[in-house]
Amino acid sequence: MKILSSLIIILLIYSCSVMIASQPDNTVLSNSKKKAFCTIKNEKINKFELYELGDLPCLKYKLKVSSTEYLEIEYITLNKYADDIYERGHQVLKRVKNNKTVEVIKLRKEEDTYWSDTPFVRVRKQQYFADLDDDGYLEFAVFPFSSGSAIVGTVRIFSLKDKIVLWGKGKYQFEGDTFVRLNCPNWSKFNPKEIKNCE
Protein backbone atom coordinates (compact mmCIF):
# COMPACT_ATOMS: atom_id res chain seq x y z
CA MET A 1 0.00 0.00 0.00
CA LYS A 2 2.82 2.32 0.96
CA ILE A 3 4.64 1.53 -2.26
CA LEU A 4 1.51 2.19 -4.30
CA SER A 5 0.89 5.57 -2.66
CA SER A 6 4.56 6.55 -3.15
CA LEU A 7 4.29 5.61 -6.80
CA ILE A 8 1.19 7.77 -7.21
CA ILE A 9 2.93 10.72 -5.56
CA ILE A 10 6.00 10.33 -7.81
CA LEU A 11 3.77 10.14 -10.89
CA LEU A 12 1.88 13.25 -9.79
CA ILE A 13 5.10 15.23 -9.25
CA TYR A 14 6.47 14.13 -12.63
CA SER A 15 3.33 15.04 -14.55
CA CYS A 16 3.21 18.43 -12.81
CA SER A 17 6.81 19.18 -13.77
CA VAL A 18 6.13 18.18 -17.39
CA MET A 19 3.06 20.42 -17.45
CA ILE A 20 5.01 23.40 -16.13
CA ALA A 21 7.86 22.87 -18.57
CA SER A 22 5.58 22.42 -21.55
CA GLN A 23 3.59 25.59 -21.03
CA PRO A 24 3.97 28.05 -23.90
CA ASP A 25 5.36 31.45 -23.05
CA ASN A 26 3.63 34.68 -23.91
CA THR A 27 5.18 35.56 -27.19
CA VAL A 28 3.92 36.97 -30.41
CA LEU A 29 5.71 36.94 -33.73
CA SER A 30 4.72 39.04 -36.66
CA ASN A 31 6.51 39.46 -39.93
CA SER A 32 6.41 42.30 -42.37
CA LYS A 33 8.35 42.56 -45.60
CA LYS A 34 11.45 44.08 -44.13
CA LYS A 35 11.28 43.51 -40.42
CA ALA A 36 10.56 40.70 -38.08
CA PHE A 37 9.42 41.31 -34.57
CA CYS A 38 9.41 39.00 -31.68
CA THR A 39 7.85 40.27 -28.56
CA ILE A 40 8.16 38.87 -25.09
CA LYS A 41 5.86 39.94 -22.33
CA ASN A 42 7.77 41.66 -19.57
CA GLU A 43 5.88 40.52 -16.52
CA LYS A 44 7.34 43.25 -14.31
CA ILE A 45 5.79 46.05 -16.30
CA ASN A 46 3.06 43.93 -17.89
CA LYS A 47 4.00 45.08 -21.39
CA PHE A 48 5.26 43.46 -24.55
CA GLU A 49 8.79 44.44 -25.46
CA LEU A 50 9.71 44.91 -29.06
CA TYR A 51 12.72 43.31 -30.72
CA GLU A 52 13.81 44.50 -34.12
CA LEU A 53 15.65 42.76 -36.90
CA GLY A 54 19.31 42.82 -35.98
CA ASP A 55 18.66 42.06 -32.34
CA LEU A 56 18.83 38.53 -31.13
CA PRO A 57 15.17 37.98 -30.43
CA CYS A 58 13.43 35.85 -27.86
CA LEU A 59 16.39 34.54 -25.93
CA LYS A 60 16.42 33.17 -22.43
CA TYR A 61 19.22 32.21 -20.09
CA LYS A 62 17.14 30.52 -17.43
CA LEU A 63 14.44 27.92 -17.96
CA LYS A 64 12.14 26.72 -15.25
CA VAL A 65 11.64 22.97 -15.38
CA SER A 66 9.51 22.66 -12.27
CA SER A 67 8.92 24.51 -9.05
CA THR A 68 12.17 23.06 -7.68
CA GLU A 69 14.30 22.74 -10.77
CA TYR A 70 15.69 25.04 -13.43
CA LEU A 71 18.33 25.20 -16.13
CA GLU A 72 20.68 28.12 -16.50
CA ILE A 73 23.39 29.20 -18.90
CA GLU A 74 26.21 31.06 -17.28
CA TYR A 75 29.32 32.72 -18.64
CA ILE A 76 32.36 31.75 -16.60
CA THR A 77 34.99 34.46 -16.74
CA LEU A 78 38.54 33.15 -16.62
CA ASN A 79 40.55 36.23 -17.57
CA LYS A 80 38.57 39.12 -18.90
CA TYR A 81 41.72 41.00 -19.95
CA ALA A 82 43.15 38.13 -22.02
CA ASP A 83 44.11 39.06 -25.57
CA ASP A 84 43.21 35.59 -26.75
CA ILE A 85 39.45 35.48 -26.94
CA TYR A 86 39.40 31.81 -25.93
CA GLU A 87 41.12 32.53 -22.65
CA ARG A 88 38.55 35.07 -21.52
CA GLY A 89 35.94 32.52 -20.48
CA HIS A 90 33.34 30.04 -21.61
CA GLN A 91 29.68 29.23 -21.23
CA VAL A 92 28.32 26.41 -19.08
CA LEU A 93 24.91 24.84 -18.80
CA LYS A 94 23.83 24.35 -15.21
CA ARG A 95 21.06 22.21 -13.81
CA VAL A 96 19.84 23.32 -10.43
CA LYS A 97 17.54 21.29 -8.18
CA ASN A 98 16.37 22.52 -4.80
CA ASN A 99 18.87 25.38 -5.03
CA LYS A 100 21.77 22.95 -5.51
CA THR A 101 23.72 22.72 -8.74
CA VAL A 102 23.53 19.05 -9.66
CA GLU A 103 25.08 19.18 -13.13
CA VAL A 104 27.42 21.48 -15.03
CA ILE A 105 28.21 21.03 -18.70
CA LYS A 106 30.89 23.01 -20.50
CA LEU A 107 29.27 23.86 -23.80
CA ARG A 108 32.19 24.78 -26.03
CA LYS A 109 34.54 22.00 -27.00
CA GLU A 110 38.17 22.49 -27.99
CA GLU A 111 37.45 22.32 -31.70
CA ASP A 112 34.62 24.85 -31.53
CA THR A 113 35.02 28.50 -32.28
CA TYR A 114 34.30 31.07 -29.59
CA TRP A 115 30.66 32.04 -29.24
CA SER A 116 29.28 35.49 -28.67
CA ASP A 117 26.36 34.08 -26.79
CA THR A 118 24.68 30.78 -25.96
CA PRO A 119 21.06 31.39 -25.07
CA PHE A 120 18.16 29.00 -24.85
CA VAL A 121 15.85 29.24 -27.83
CA ARG A 122 12.46 27.69 -28.40
CA VAL A 123 12.73 24.07 -29.43
CA ARG A 124 9.21 24.13 -30.84
CA LYS A 125 6.77 26.90 -31.63
CA GLN A 126 6.31 28.93 -28.44
CA GLN A 127 7.85 26.16 -26.36
CA TYR A 128 11.24 26.04 -24.74
CA PHE A 129 10.62 22.40 -23.80
CA ALA A 130 9.04 19.68 -25.90
CA ASP A 131 9.17 15.92 -26.02
CA LEU A 132 10.46 15.61 -29.56
CA ASP A 133 10.79 11.85 -29.71
CA ASP A 134 7.86 10.86 -27.50
CA ASP A 135 10.10 9.03 -25.06
CA GLY A 136 8.74 10.81 -22.00
CA TYR A 137 11.76 13.08 -21.63
CA LEU A 138 11.74 16.74 -22.56
CA GLU A 139 14.12 18.28 -25.04
CA PHE A 140 15.41 21.84 -25.04
CA ALA A 141 17.65 23.86 -27.36
CA VAL A 142 20.80 25.89 -26.82
CA PHE A 143 21.92 28.22 -29.57
CA PRO A 144 25.70 28.73 -29.76
CA PHE A 145 25.78 32.06 -31.53
CA SER A 146 28.71 33.35 -33.52
CA SER A 147 27.69 35.99 -35.99
CA GLY A 148 28.52 35.67 -39.66
CA SER A 149 26.96 36.56 -42.95
CA ALA A 150 24.81 33.42 -42.72
CA ILE A 151 21.49 34.02 -41.06
CA VAL A 152 20.89 30.42 -40.15
CA GLY A 153 22.77 28.89 -37.27
CA THR A 154 22.93 25.44 -35.74
CA VAL A 155 21.41 24.77 -32.35
CA ARG A 156 22.26 21.94 -30.04
CA ILE A 157 19.31 20.07 -28.63
CA PHE A 158 19.61 18.34 -25.29
CA SER A 159 17.39 15.79 -23.60
CA LEU A 160 16.51 16.29 -19.97
CA LYS A 161 17.03 12.81 -18.55
CA ASP A 162 18.62 11.80 -15.25
CA LYS A 163 21.66 13.39 -16.81
CA ILE A 164 21.47 15.96 -19.57
CA VAL A 165 22.40 14.29 -22.84
CA LEU A 166 22.98 15.69 -26.32
CA TRP A 167 19.96 14.75 -28.41
CA GLY A 168 20.76 16.27 -31.79
CA LYS A 169 20.95 19.41 -33.84
CA GLY A 170 18.55 21.80 -35.47
CA LYS A 171 18.56 25.04 -37.45
CA TYR A 172 17.71 28.46 -36.18
CA GLN A 173 17.41 31.69 -38.11
CA PHE A 174 18.75 34.03 -35.52
CA GLU A 175 17.67 37.38 -36.91
CA GLY A 176 14.00 36.67 -37.06
CA ASP A 177 12.93 33.14 -36.32
CA THR A 178 11.49 32.11 -33.01
CA PHE A 179 11.88 28.38 -32.86
CA VAL A 180 14.16 25.59 -33.99
CA ARG A 181 13.64 23.92 -37.36
CA LEU A 182 14.20 20.20 -37.45
CA ASN A 183 15.19 17.85 -40.26
CA CYS A 184 16.18 20.68 -42.57
CA PRO A 185 18.32 20.25 -45.62
CA ASN A 186 21.75 21.84 -45.38
CA TRP A 187 21.88 25.32 -46.71
CA SER A 188 24.25 28.24 -46.62
CA LYS A 189 21.64 30.86 -47.20
CA PHE A 190 18.18 30.73 -45.81
CA ASN A 191 15.95 29.53 -48.59
CA PRO A 192 12.23 30.12 -48.07
CA LYS A 193 11.41 27.22 -50.38
CA GLU A 194 13.65 24.81 -48.53
CA ILE A 195 12.28 25.63 -45.13
CA LYS A 196 9.00 24.07 -46.20
CA ASN A 197 10.85 20.80 -46.00
CA CYS A 198 11.72 21.42 -42.37
CA GLU A 199 9.56 20.60 -39.43
Binding site: N31, A36, L53, G54, D55, L56, Y81, A82, D83, I85, Y86, E111, D112, T113, Y114, W115, S116, D117, P144, S146, S147, G148, S149, A150, I151, V152, G153, T154, Q173, F174, E175, G176, D177, N186, W187, S188, K189, F190, N191, P192
Partner: protein, 202 residues
Protein backbone atom coordinates in the same frame (compact mmCIF):
# COMPACT_ATOMS: atom_id res chain seq x y z
CA UNK B 1 37.59 68.41 -36.53
CA UNK B 2 40.07 67.93 -33.70
CA UNK B 3 37.83 65.35 -32.14
CA UNK B 4 37.67 63.41 -35.39
CA UNK B 5 41.45 63.44 -35.83
CA UNK B 6 41.86 62.18 -32.27
CA UNK B 7 39.59 59.21 -32.89
CA UNK B 8 41.26 58.41 -36.18
CA UNK B 9 44.72 58.36 -34.68
CA UNK B 10 43.62 56.15 -31.82
CA UNK B 11 41.75 53.73 -34.03
CA UNK B 12 43.08 50.22 -34.64
CA UNK B 13 45.47 50.42 -31.73
CA UNK B 14 45.81 46.92 -30.38
CA UNK B 15 45.49 47.36 -26.67
CA UNK B 16 42.66 45.60 -24.91
CA UNK B 17 42.85 47.93 -21.94
CA UNK B 18 42.78 51.14 -23.92
CA UNK B 19 39.75 53.38 -24.06
CA UNK B 20 37.56 52.26 -26.91
CA UNK B 21 37.19 54.61 -29.84
CA UNK B 22 34.45 54.05 -32.35
CA UNK B 23 34.71 54.79 -36.02
CA UNK B 24 31.66 56.34 -37.56
CA UNK B 25 30.95 56.79 -41.24
CA UNK B 26 32.53 60.25 -41.26
CA UNK B 27 35.70 58.84 -39.68
CA UNK B 28 35.91 56.06 -42.24
CA UNK B 29 35.68 58.60 -45.05
CA UNK B 30 38.19 60.85 -43.34
CA UNK B 31 40.72 58.07 -42.86
CA UNK B 32 40.54 57.15 -46.52
CA UNK B 33 40.95 60.76 -47.66
CA UNK B 34 43.84 61.36 -45.30
CA UNK B 35 45.82 58.16 -45.66
CA UNK B 36 45.00 56.92 -49.15
CA UNK B 37 48.30 58.14 -50.53
CA UNK B 38 50.33 56.52 -47.77
CA UNK B 39 50.16 53.14 -49.47
CA UNK B 40 50.95 51.67 -52.87
CA UNK B 41 48.33 49.77 -54.79
CA UNK B 42 48.50 47.21 -57.53
CA UNK B 43 46.03 46.35 -60.20
CA UNK B 44 44.12 43.27 -59.11
CA UNK B 45 42.88 40.48 -61.34
CA UNK B 46 39.23 40.53 -62.27
CA UNK B 47 37.06 37.91 -60.67
CA UNK B 48 36.24 35.41 -63.38
CA UNK B 49 32.57 35.05 -64.14
CA UNK B 50 31.59 38.34 -62.52
CA UNK B 51 31.17 41.04 -65.13
CA UNK B 52 30.21 43.52 -62.44
CA UNK B 53 33.82 43.49 -61.24
CA UNK B 54 35.46 46.31 -63.11
CA UNK B 55 38.15 46.90 -60.52
CA UNK B 56 36.11 49.69 -58.97
CA UNK B 57 36.76 48.49 -55.40
CA UNK B 58 40.39 47.41 -55.79
CA UNK B 59 41.89 50.44 -54.08
CA UNK B 60 39.32 50.51 -51.29
CA UNK B 61 39.99 46.87 -50.44
CA UNK B 62 43.76 47.22 -50.56
CA UNK B 63 43.63 50.40 -48.54
CA UNK B 64 41.60 48.89 -45.70
CA UNK B 65 43.81 45.78 -45.53
CA UNK B 66 47.02 47.81 -45.51
CA UNK B 67 45.69 50.37 -43.08
CA UNK B 68 44.54 47.83 -40.53
CA UNK B 69 47.80 45.90 -40.83
CA UNK B 70 49.70 49.15 -40.27
CA UNK B 71 47.69 49.60 -37.08
CA UNK B 72 48.54 46.13 -35.81
CA UNK B 73 45.15 44.50 -36.16
CA UNK B 74 46.70 41.63 -38.07
CA UNK B 75 50.34 40.65 -38.54
CA UNK B 76 50.12 39.19 -42.00
CA UNK B 77 48.98 40.21 -45.45
CA UNK B 78 45.55 39.18 -46.64
CA UNK B 79 45.41 38.81 -50.40
CA UNK B 80 42.98 41.52 -51.57
CA UNK B 81 41.89 39.16 -54.33
CA UNK B 82 40.51 36.87 -51.62
CA UNK B 83 38.39 39.75 -50.33
CA UNK B 84 37.18 40.34 -53.88
CA UNK B 85 36.26 36.66 -54.15
CA UNK B 86 34.32 36.98 -50.91
CA UNK B 87 32.49 40.03 -52.25
CA UNK B 88 31.68 38.11 -55.42
CA UNK B 89 30.19 35.27 -53.40
CA UNK B 90 28.27 37.59 -51.12
CA UNK B 91 26.85 40.26 -53.38
CA UNK B 92 28.19 39.84 -56.91
CA UNK B 93 29.61 43.36 -56.52
CA UNK B 94 26.20 45.02 -56.08
CA UNK B 95 26.99 47.60 -53.45
CA UNK B 96 23.46 48.83 -52.71
CA UNK B 97 21.95 45.38 -52.35
CA UNK B 98 19.94 44.34 -49.33
CA UNK B 99 19.11 40.67 -49.32
CA UNK B 100 15.58 39.63 -50.20
CA UNK B 101 15.77 36.70 -47.85
CA UNK B 102 12.98 36.96 -45.30
CA UNK B 103 14.03 38.10 -41.86
CA UNK B 104 17.57 38.93 -42.91
CA UNK B 105 19.37 42.24 -42.82
CA UNK B 106 22.41 41.25 -44.94
CA UNK B 107 23.53 44.48 -46.58
CA UNK B 108 25.90 45.68 -49.23
CA UNK B 109 29.03 44.34 -50.87
CA UNK B 110 30.11 42.13 -47.98
CA UNK B 111 26.55 41.36 -46.83
CA UNK B 112 26.92 42.59 -43.30
CA UNK B 113 24.13 41.66 -40.94
CA UNK B 114 22.73 44.18 -38.52
CA UNK B 115 23.69 41.68 -35.85
CA UNK B 116 27.30 41.90 -37.03
CA UNK B 117 27.13 45.70 -37.06
CA UNK B 118 25.77 45.56 -33.53
CA UNK B 119 28.71 43.42 -32.46
CA UNK B 120 31.24 45.69 -34.20
CA UNK B 121 29.75 48.63 -32.32
CA UNK B 122 29.52 46.69 -29.04
CA UNK B 123 25.76 47.11 -28.83
CA UNK B 124 25.53 43.36 -28.35
CA UNK B 125 28.46 41.33 -27.08
CA UNK B 126 31.77 42.85 -26.09
CA UNK B 127 33.96 40.50 -28.07
CA UNK B 128 35.40 43.09 -30.46
CA UNK B 129 37.39 45.25 -28.12
CA UNK B 130 39.40 47.40 -30.47
CA UNK B 131 38.86 49.15 -33.77
CA UNK B 132 35.12 49.21 -33.24
CA UNK B 133 32.94 50.54 -36.00
CA UNK B 134 29.52 52.06 -35.48
CA UNK B 135 27.45 52.19 -38.64
CA UNK B 136 23.82 51.60 -39.54
CA UNK B 137 22.27 49.56 -42.29
CA UNK B 138 21.82 52.48 -44.69
CA UNK B 139 25.45 53.50 -44.27
CA UNK B 140 26.50 49.93 -44.92
CA UNK B 141 25.16 50.28 -48.45
CA UNK B 142 28.07 52.56 -49.30
CA UNK B 143 31.08 50.71 -50.67
CA UNK B 144 33.75 52.46 -48.61
CA UNK B 145 31.86 51.97 -45.35
CA UNK B 146 30.85 48.41 -46.13
CA UNK B 147 34.38 47.36 -47.06
CA UNK B 148 35.76 49.03 -43.94
CA UNK B 149 33.37 47.14 -41.67
CA UNK B 150 33.53 43.93 -43.70
CA UNK B 151 37.32 43.73 -43.74
CA UNK B 152 37.37 44.56 -40.02
CA UNK B 153 35.01 41.66 -39.44
CA UNK B 154 37.06 39.34 -41.66
CA UNK B 155 40.28 40.27 -39.84
CA UNK B 156 38.54 39.65 -36.53
CA UNK B 157 37.43 36.22 -37.72
CA UNK B 158 40.89 35.30 -39.05
CA UNK B 159 42.58 36.32 -35.81
CA UNK B 160 40.05 34.56 -33.58
CA UNK B 161 39.26 31.37 -35.46
CA UNK B 162 40.20 28.05 -33.84
CA UNK B 163 42.91 27.75 -36.52
CA UNK B 164 44.39 31.18 -35.87
CA UNK B 165 47.68 29.61 -34.76
CA UNK B 166 48.00 27.20 -37.67
CA UNK B 167 51.37 27.25 -39.43
CA UNK B 168 49.64 27.26 -42.80
CA UNK B 169 48.50 30.67 -43.97
CA UNK B 170 45.98 29.02 -46.26
CA UNK B 171 44.40 27.27 -43.28
CA UNK B 172 44.26 30.52 -41.33
CA UNK B 173 42.65 32.35 -44.25
CA UNK B 174 40.25 29.50 -44.98
CA UNK B 175 39.09 29.49 -41.37
CA UNK B 176 38.62 33.24 -41.36
CA UNK B 177 36.46 33.05 -44.47
CA UNK B 178 34.53 30.12 -43.05
CA UNK B 179 33.75 31.88 -39.80
CA UNK B 180 33.03 35.10 -41.64
CA UNK B 181 29.99 33.21 -42.84
CA UNK B 182 29.12 30.58 -40.28
CA UNK B 183 30.82 28.42 -37.66
CA UNK B 184 29.03 25.23 -38.61
CA UNK B 185 29.16 23.01 -41.70
CA UNK B 186 27.56 25.68 -43.85
CA UNK B 187 30.69 27.75 -43.30
CA UNK B 188 32.80 25.07 -44.97
CA UNK B 189 30.53 25.01 -48.01
CA UNK B 190 30.82 28.78 -48.21
CA UNK B 191 34.62 28.88 -47.75
CA UNK B 192 35.11 26.27 -50.47
CA UNK B 193 33.03 28.37 -52.82
CA UNK B 194 34.97 31.55 -52.05
CA UNK B 195 38.31 29.81 -52.46
CA UNK B 196 37.20 28.28 -55.73
CA UNK B 197 36.35 31.75 -57.04
CA UNK B 198 39.66 33.00 -55.66
CA UNK B 199 41.79 30.24 -57.22
CA UNK B 200 40.03 30.59 -60.57
CA UNK B 201 40.79 34.30 -60.64
CA UNK B 202 44.47 34.16 -59.69
Amino acid sequence: MNGVVHRVEAHCRKNSKSKVNFLYKSNINYIFDKYENNFKYKKLNRIKGYKQDKGQYDILIQFRLKYCKSKGLINEDIDPLLVKALIAAESSFRERVITKMPNSSATGLMQLLKTTMNILSKKISKEVRVANIDINQEEAREALVNIAAGTRWLIFKITTSPNRKSKSQKVRMYSGVKYYHSWNDDGDVYAKKVFQIYENSK
